[in-house]
Symmetry: C2
Subunit: 215 residues, 2 copies
Amino acid sequence: MTEPSAAGAKTVKSTNITRVTHRVTVTDRWVRNGHQSGILWFTGLSGAGKTTLALELERQLHADGHQAYVLDGDNLRGGLNGDLGFSPEDRSENIRRAGEVAALFADAGVIVIGALISPYEADRQMVRAMRPDLFHEVFIKSDLDVCESRDPKGLYKKARAGEIPEFTGISAPYEEPVAPELIVDTANQTVDQSIKALRDYISANLFQDRAVEVA
Amino acid sequence: MTEPSAAGAKTVKSTNITRVTHRVTVTDRWVRNGHQSGILWFTGLSGAGKTTLALELERQLHADGHQAYVLDGDNLRGGLNGDLGFSPEDRSENIRRAGEVAALFADAGVIVIGALISPYEADRQMVRAMRPDLFHEVFIKSDLDVCESRDPKGLYKKARAGEIPEFTGISAPYEEPVAPELIVDTANQTVDQSIKALRDYISANLFQDRAVEVA
């Protein structure tokens, strides 16, 4: 049995806690679903295409009968992370919680697609450490100028006008992944090409019968 | 598409957020899985049997080919909620986050079983408000003296000795559910009888073909 570790929590404040073990293992779930689970962690600038690709990938995986679910950073900020802002500390806590939730979904047998800017390398490493066996860092890569020209939410314009403090790429840093499992180049690829790259990666890493049988 | 609302968050601190809509609806997922999803929220005293019943129910539902997952309060306190203690405020935040995660799982098509003491009526109402259409309050009911005689984790003994402050039922309140969807009387039933009551409830409420078809 495997379940998210407390890797993300700096300190576990609770005492008198008895961790329980599920009687259904993650491998049991893989066998039931016909595929492995995993955390596909999409990181990249605003406008790079994280959400667009995540939602289309979710649609296609579902259509093919697989268990897939998107955790979108913006949606989480309307719920679980609604108490957090954009300071470095709050961004880290935002990623920590999203990572813990992603780890729960992966433990439940789901291919979970996290779509969050997650600009800090240390935060992404923190999420990896929660479930290193199931974590896949996917760099949704696009140049800042391309992202800014797309500006799907009008946020770059606001950021340039000084209306959004701490905006990633403009007034807050984005640390590119050092060794991501996959790079999806959305500046030079169509959405279809990017989706194909993602599906090829999933087929090679999560859809191998061998993996399901021997894991 | 339906996704957890921000009902639980007292204030949504984030601005410049664009909520996105999944292309896979919760109903799509029900059709795929052959059953509806839902939040079965087990509330009750420590020792009432929440975790025991949750893990056995998860095992049986999985064995029958359904998507089910347990969110156990103790396990969450080792991860997502590792930064929280047992003050009333921290207990509320503990329940809020667990509720938001449960709502995400239900949105993903899973029968999610929350096993948390959740002693405050207001907190449970907060979780209900996140997904009222999918929330089922299940009171795992047992007298305090029965729970204390079981004392599976040795916590009542510690609490009586004054070693655990704010222990529910001893030095912190437990507010019984006012109108739960289901009461499971574990003081007067065997585990098998309690599981049968839970499975009957699920069959009547989540396994109706009609519901999957017309929802």
